[in-house]
Symmetry: C2
Subunit: 477 residues, 2 copies
């Protein structure tokens, strides 16, 4: 494809993207598809003849695009806000267009240094001390794995440089709660920790925050048993209900035993840019690693997960491809981000943040986050005041967890019928295409999560959601 | 940013990208920068006021873009061809524009199913049997780590589900050669294998391919010692010299001991689309996992690394977030690519391949690869025939390894002076900005790699490179 062919096709594609965003509300949120439908609609064999960009765009429009769930739709309340601000999309396009190769400082000084600058901008905006250094990973799952690997090597005095984990005598233990994201367990297991040694710390029955006294007891018991407490993963805004483990107390407990603390603030970390919300994160500066994803509520297009560490030299020693294990980041040397994570080759991801912060401005981003917090609070009040409806978890930020419990499903022995009812009305809404919610399990019973925070979601959309909720549970529905 | 603002800014950005590509030869390959120069050129504090997209684009053009090494330049011969075909860039832009969320089949059926279709197209084009199933990872480094984790769990009968690696009694061993990419050692260490148990198998002195007899002996010795042979990583086209470990013999040796075989064809895998080159890969279908990166020579913009496995159920069991560890891919269930790798959230990467294959067509891609092979062969002949120059490794595909050894540096005791000479002339060329080569170490002495295969590199560029080589070693240089 020549630059001139690209220019023509690129202009058409930009128009398509702009048109699509402008009309997102006219489409269904959830596609009407069964597994395999799209595979059947696409050729099983590779194309043999070149085709025009227009033909590919036509298929993108008619076959591919109708097959995505429209997470930019203002009536999308599923999982988490997966905002892709148009400013950050421009940055993503700039990254593609630069076509740079991020394998070392030498291969793309700009890729390295713009990232250093922009992650430090975000550090300042979230109020982290200057000693924290950051890197952009793809997702918080990867960040959690990298944190567990760093924790493992600290707990074993760098076992990887000699006999490896099999040479250790004390089992490595990881502490988290039932509320932690599934990637936490996955990361611990992949790091070589056995399922037998993942400790689930008790949680507060109402807030679902980690109970620090139980954490203290579990660590003490493991120490007594000759085990090796490796890491605590604190959820700062859990996926299910936005629970906040008490990070201030956790880092103090960890300090007594030299346990690594990873703060998983993947979704909620965006709230750290709001000074009035920082109390939720009080003490986070005592952790060892932090993950938060601008590619969620903050509005940067996926993938863009920030990982901050307090001791980059340790991380580099663990992740380095330099077999001497002796290199230091001190002095005037260049940063080599390949030694901060798993992949060698890296995209120019910082441009997404650079574009977004410069074009949108932090004030507008903050105003949007505050709007969402107000909307969530208002919505929760509306639900709580509505007969038959319950808000079933504290609304810490922008997620409202709810159930509809009509009179005939109040008795304790009606739990299964309540589950059926919940899944029924959620399905009614989701299959309508008008809105989308994620059903989720709380205390072994289904509930629905309304995760508010899509860029386009205004109060009127929540008013409409309440109408849909009422209709979905109406006896005739 | 509104859709109309995005439309206007997007058109400008597309023009900038097209112009930049059309004029790539007018720029230096290597930027003139020292570490920290760009950091100093950018504001240390985050922006407070919103700016226009035009202002950001102006900075992209004047500050950022001059800070990248131009790997799309036809005179770039460093590391490996990091081609970003304009067709694949269109696909990348389409992915950004769709702004879809890849966390499950449900969150974006199209993201899942287009990937299934396109990776199967590539399977067909590379001649792999239909039992091989694929997924797109970010890089071959990640693919290697995922392969090592899968190998580890097979070798330990899923130790992660019980006591973890510390509960194992037999050290896990990994077999590879000095020629393997640095990510291989990194992946083994991160998977929990100790450095003491990474076995470096002897290589053929000239071809630098793994010696299967020594592999056999090393595994037998480890078995005798009560160790646990976990994985063999075969380099199919090594980074340094494009060595090809004899994969057919390796898989037979592995089969006797149930050892996992990972075939790392990150760069050279593109050659599998050429039927006449498949002899180099004969036997690969007996491996357990394969990595090859369309984001290198093949021409798909980074990041796009293909991972194929013969037993996806095993991979899913290891990587699944499903705590039951019992789910199967059998039946009509949807593919959940989160269970094929580390990140939960995934970009719509398959669109890059979809666009490239449809717009460019496989015939044009094959013709380009064949052109590069002919150019490499021609270039090697020219070098070998030139007084003072040596081709120091066999030219298996498109990489030519060379040294200049004038008469006064021929004696064996002149090795250090030869190193100085090599680094000097490579630096002369690289700092000129006219071309870029990677110096690399072979048998403890520096050499230069000329990695041919940038989309725009034609015979005339190699003629010019020879002029530059001659000038760089001329006594007056």
């Amino acid at each position: 494809m020549t630059p001139e062919e690209f220019r023509a096709a690129g202009h058409e594609l930009i128009d398509w993207i702009a048109d699509r965003r402008a009309t997102v509300e006219q489409r269904r949120v959830r596609p009407e598809l069964e597994p395999g439908d799209l595979i059947a609609a696409l050729p099983a064999e590779p194309p043999t003849e070149p085709e025009s960009a227009a033909a590919v765009l036509a298929d993108l429009d008619s076959i591919v695009a109708p097959g995505v769930l429209e997470v930019q739709h203002p009536m999308h309340y599923g999982w988490f806000p997966a905002n892709a601000s148009l400013s950050s999309i421009l940055g993503d396009i700039a990254s593609s267009g630069l076509s740079s190769l991020g394998i070392s400082w030498e291969s793309s000084p700009a890729l390295t240094e713009v990232e250093e600058v922009v992650v430090d901008w975000l550090r300042q905006l979230t109020g982290l001390p200057a000693e924290w250094k950051g890197v952009i990973q793809d997702t918080a799952s990867t960040t959690c794995l990298v944190a567990m690997l760093a924790a493992r090597e600290r707990a074993t005095d760098h076992a990887q440089t000699s006999a490896g984990l099999v040479g250790e005598s004390a089992p490595l233990c990881v502490y988290t709660t039932t509320e932690a994201h599934s990637s936490v367990r996955k990361a611990a297991l992949l790091a070589g920790v056995g399922a037998d040694h993942i400790r689930l710390v008790d949680i507060d029955r109402y807030t679902r925050d980690m109970e620090p006294d139980h954490l203290r007891a579990l660590i003490a018991a493991d120490v007594d048993a000759g085990h090796n407490p490796m890491a605590i993963v604190a959820s700062l805004g859990s996926t299910g209900t936005t629970a906040f483990d008490p990070i201030g107390e956790i880092v103090q407990i960890a300090a007594n035993h030299g346990v690594w603390v990873h703060a998983d603030a993947a979704m909620a970390g965006a709230a750290m840019v709001l000074p009035e919300q920082r109390a939720l994160f009080a003490g986070i500066e005592g952790a060892d690693s932090i993950a938060w994803n601008p590619h969620k509520w903050f509005g940067t297009i996926l993938d863009c997960s920030l990982m901050y560490v307090r001791d980059p030299d340790h991380l580099i020693r663990v992740m380095s491809t330099n077999p001497s294990y002796l290199r230091s980041t001190a002095g005037g040397e260049a940063t080599q981000y390949r030694d901060w994570g798993i992949p060698l080759g890296r995209r120019f991801r910082s441009l997404k943040l650079w574009y977004q912060l410069r074009i949108d401005g932090i004030d507008a981003i903050r105003a949007r986050l505050r709007r969402d917090l107000e909307n969530a609070s208002w919505f929760a009040d509306q639900i709580a005041a509505r007969p038959g409806w319950e808000v079933v978890a504290p609304v810490r930020l922008q997620t409202v967890c709810l159930r509809h419990r009509p009179d005939d499903l109040v008795a304790p022995d009606r739990g299964e019928a309540l589950d059926t009812h919940t899944l029924d009305w959620v399905r009614t809404i989701n299959t309508s295409g008008e809105a989308f919610l994620s059903p989720s399990v709380l205390d072994d019973r289904w509930m629905a999560r309304v995760s508010i925070g899509v860029e386009g979601t205004e109060r009127a959309h929540l008013v409409r959601l309440i109408e849909l909720l009422d209709a979905a549970v109406a006896p005739s529905a």
